[in-house]
Amino acid sequence: MIIPLMRRMGQTIFVLFGISALVFAVFFATPGADPTARIAGRNAAPQTMEKVRKEYGFDRPLPVQYAIMMKKLFITRDLASYANRGERVVPEIMRAAPVTLSLVTGAAVIWVVLSIGMGVLAAAFKGSWLDRLLMMLGLVGISIPVFWLGQVVNLITQNSYHDTWLFSWVPGLGYVPFTQSPFDWFRSLVIPWCVLAVMFVGIYSRILRADLVAIMGEDFMRTARAKGLSPTRVLLRHGLRTALITFVSLFGMDFAQLVGGGALLTEVVFGLPGVGRLTYQALNSLDLPLIMATVMYSAVFVVLANALVDAAYLLLDPRVRDAR
């Protein structure tokens, strides 16, 4: 069990190196485009250009440029944005990360709980009206674009019905740190959580139902029933436990890409200053250092989460433990 984990860590480091090199190459080593001008921003003064060229080593060979960039990102953390008047990029991301993490974690709790409930119920009552209703709801959830849903919810809770008893508790858009007031933190996030979770509830409940239905045809489920176990126990201890293997691996990937900035639309709609919104702003102002940093950040997250998923896989599926 330890050896596969170690091997996985080694692979992770290798993949991280590959991604950083690739991202660097895309932004700074594209032939025919001078990265200096792009970092310095539009219509920069020649002095600024010269300063940037020195600072990033654009007059030196590529490997040195790569090393400087990595040093600025991970060691000295003084990568600065010129479009934004010298704002340091790494601390900016560090400030944004907890917001995104709060948003995504809350949404993940909602979507995991709801989708397991819906998927198991639908599978248990396969073919009934309940099954059809739940799966139709799931499909509706998948089909609603998150930015549209967010805007509509905002319209209802912030505007049209804000003065009614139902939504008068809803705070204005924005984020309150947990350390400042846990209650306000919760109030400011509960609606974004639900909105972000809707699509995933749909996807996950449908996947789980399909998995469970397939598993119900397996021989071991027949054995479990022949043992005299109750239908609930057969479905949960034998069926759901086996179906969770797929579920967890999907979850890890989705969670990682959301934390890495995939919740961009939700963050923008609800005015949450998270990593997604930061990326959005960086793209708007073509702030190259910030884009570089957010891409690296999200890549690191996805790769690390992938490694975690693999570790969870080892725990969940004994067959994988012995492989190789």
Partner: protein, 342 residues
Amino acid sequence: MPVNAPLLEVQNLCVSFATRGQMIPIVENISFSIGEQEILGLVGESGSGKSVTAMALMGLIDAPGVRITGMALFKGQDLLAMSGKQLRTLRGQEIAMIFQDPMTAFTPVYTIGWQIDEQLRVHQKLSRRQARARTVELLGEMGVPDPLNTANRYPHQLSGGLRQRAMIAMALSCNPSLLIADEPTTALDVTVQAQILDLMRNLRKTYGSSVLLITHDMGVVAETCDKTLVLYSGRVAETGTTQALFAHPQHPYTAALLASIPPMSGPRPERLPAIPGSPPQPLERPAGCAFAPRCTYSHATCLPAPPPAFHAINSHHKVACLLPMEGTPLPPRFSANTTATV
């Protein structure tokens, strides 16, 4: 319950499935009985309804639109009329089942021991520790080497033979009076097969269990079973003691099946006789004798409905064929003492 009533008595069991508004009869009017500590072989080719019969007895068919009629008296209670809950307390406790493919019959994510413990703890008030002690003991009795460690292994870590032994250990964990074995040896190689059959034969002595052995292998039947029931296309073709049935098959189907086994002695045949054609689809079953289209002895009286009634050769041996009734029974096949070596 009278003293010498059979443990399980099945009468006129019919199972049909609804497909596109049509009822497709899979099993028609099967009747048989199993006495205490008796081994009954249920023989037939794929699709003849062997497994469906077993699943119907266990209440494990939950396809929508299935219709099961008839009676199955187990210790005086009708299995087919029981509520799901009643049946559940019997399953695993009084009637246990082992399956064809031990590769897929265990839940892959739990250890063998955990799964046997689970069955013990569902039916008996045992602590975790007591259940595990019993599990290890059972595995040992089934000839599993190093049962203590094997109990902590996952299904995929065991060989097919070991897995089937663990499966049998699980089935026997609550001392069931009836064990239904659905092709327990089909997925195993021949030496392991012999060991498993040995194990099953000894069950009645050590555990006092009766066995319903489902197989398509006449050799397995000859080696193991006291009585044999031959199924063809969802109907009983012939039933009798294994010895009588092998020595004097009365149904042309049984005779043809036995003739297709390579003989152990005498001159080597150039070609083994085969039964031409294939069994009919359940919907295209002939109105009369289902075997008539493939039977060398079929004649005009075989064809009209209803299918031939049972003709009793003696009190144990019955055959659903017109030949003995018309006074032209099949000749005896070979002497009784060669049957043991089939």
